[in-house]
């Protein structure tokens, strides 16, 4: 179970990295096109918008898996491991509920967008598939959050980086 969620989260994160690079390149070519060729990417705004949705929700799983959501750690820092585990459980319950709500409401949005026939302005690209993907990845993240209710950690968060791992 733990291995599967970890693998899927990593794949989603890799997809998010690709989306991020795409975001960066769209912006870059839009500006370059506007200045040097009088030919901006007119669809840049809407494409970036959709990619932002994917970026956030593709990244949600790995962030949740790594307990990357910030909390006020005053109490937990000063508590023994047993209390820390209890608090982590509460946090995981809140996370499960909140992320499930996001997934559910996005799915509802996607349904509306599909029946309304909502499309992007310039490319006339339908919006509902993107929102469905966002909802599905949020749904997967709920699995991680629920798992964390039962296997709560008593560890304090780890550093993302240390000065010496750099070049």
């Amino acid at each position: 179970m733990e291995r599967i969620t970890k693998t899927i989260s990593n794949w989603l994160a890799a997809a998010a990295c690709v989306v991020l690079v795409v975001l960066m390149l769209i912006t870059f070519f839009d500006v370059v096109g506007r200045y040097f060729f009088d030919a901006p990417l007119t669809f840049a705004v809407e494409l970036i918008g959709l990619n932002m949705g994917l970026l956030v929700f593709f990244g949600l799983a790995i962030t949740t898996l790594n307990r990357g959501h910030i909390a006020v750690d005053l109490v937990s820092a000063a508590s023994p491991p047993a209390i820390r585990r209890f608090l982590a459980r509460i946090a995981a319950i809140a996370g499960s509920v909140f992320i499930a709500l996001m997934a559910w409401r996005l799915w509802d949005r996607a349904g509306n967008f599909m029946s309304d026939g909502l499309v992007t302005d310039i490319l006339a690209f339908p919006i509902y598939p993107i929102v469905m993907i966002m909802s599905a990845t949020a749904g997967f993240t709920v699995v991680i959050a629920v798992y964390q209710i039962f296997f709560a950690t008593d560890q304090a968060p780890q550093a993302h980086f240390t000065p010496d791992e750099e070049a």
Binding site: T42, V45, L118, I122, A124
Partner: protein
């Protein structure tokens, strides 16, 4: 019994729509109902502009004004009002919009989940720029800030479109990322574009417009008494469109005053130029006709009737 309807808003509170135009219309509703029916505009936005339709459909507010162009797809027939050189000002365009749409399409197709009380369009679309623009050639290489709808139009006219949300227009022009913007004259004041642009091009007939639906939650409408429904029907529809459209025209006049008071130059596009511009953007009419045809309607006849309806209210 007294009823107060909550209206969602997203424009700044000093924007004429919130401060003058909508209140003027709301007052006619209050008077017609003997003070028993009123509309209260929210103090702050609860959702972004494109979400206003959903806000009303799902009942997060009783009413809202929704820009059809902010949600491309569902309201494409109504968006015929946006076609170039069609709507000369707010009062004419708004009345024509309601009359034409109600007669030919009806509100049970594109707006089946809400109750549309009335429609409105803003004044003639104009161009505000740092350098003087009076003919097609002047637009060559000019970076114009446009909303999504204006991208193809400004490309066709030879300008370079810079698409971004309206609130970013000020910074973009100030920085030189854009050399100007498409706005009705109201935007000179409302979005403070007049501070940055010295040249304002009036375009007879209006380069474009934007159509707003003033809508109400379905359940809320059904729950109203027959008297209140009657009041909204009478004060809404074409009558309401006239009042709201006139409000946009008042705001355009105020914007024009600001533009000249700031020392700006106001130009007007000559009839010969209008003809040239019309030719460049004629493809937009064809596109819309095709879209209407695809929806199972007679696009050509619809557009002809729309032009005739505008003509009727121009007299």
């Amino acid at each position: 019994q007294n009823v107060t309807l909550r209206m969602s808003t997203w424009l700044p509170p000093r924007h004429h729509l919130v401060a003058d135009t909508l209140p003027t219309w709301i007052k006619t509703i209050e008077e017609a109902s003997g003070g028993t029916l009123t509309i209260k505009i929210d103090p702050a936005p609860i959702a972004k502009p494109p979400a206003q339709y959903d806000v009303v459909r799902d009942g997060a507010a009783d009413m809202a004004y929704h820009v059809a162009a902010y949600t491309p797809g569902p309201f494409e027939i109504l968006r015929g009002l946006e076609l170039p050189f069609l709507s000369p000002n707010g009062e004419i365009g708004s009345q024509a919009a309601y009359d034409w749409y109600d007669r030919n399409i009806g509100f049970d197709k594109e707006f089946k989940d809400v109750k549309v009380v009335t429609l409105m369009v803003h004044g003639a679309g104009a161009i505000h720029s740092k350098k003087s623009i009076t003919k097609l050639e002047d637009l060559e290489g000019v970076k114009l800030r446009v909303g999504g709808g204006g991208v193809r139009m400004s490309e066709a006219l030879g300008a370079t479109p810079v698409a971004m949300p309206a609130p970013q227009a000020y910074e973009a022009i100030q920085k030189g990322v854009a050399d100007g913007a498409m706005f009705p004259f109201e935007g000179v004041r409302g979005f403070k574009i007049g501070e940055l642009t010295d040249h304002h091009l009036k375009i007879p007939g209006g380069l474009y417009t934007t159509v707003f639906a003033v809508m109400m939650n379905r359940a809320k409408w059904d729950a109203l008494s027959d008297e209140h429904k009657k009041v909204l029907t009478e004060q809404g529809g074409i009558a309401g469109a006239k009042i709201l459209g006139a409000g946009w025209d008042r705001a355009d006049e105020a914007g024009l005053e600001v533009a000249t008071a700031d020392g700006g130059m106001v130009h007007e596009l000559s009839p010969e130029e209008v003809a040239r511009w019309k030719e460049k953007v004629a493809f937009m009419n064809e596109d819309w006709i095709k879209r209407a045809d695809d929806a199972g309607l007679d696009g050509k006849a619809l557009l002809a009737d729309l032009i005739a309806t505008v003509e009727k209210y121009s007299k």
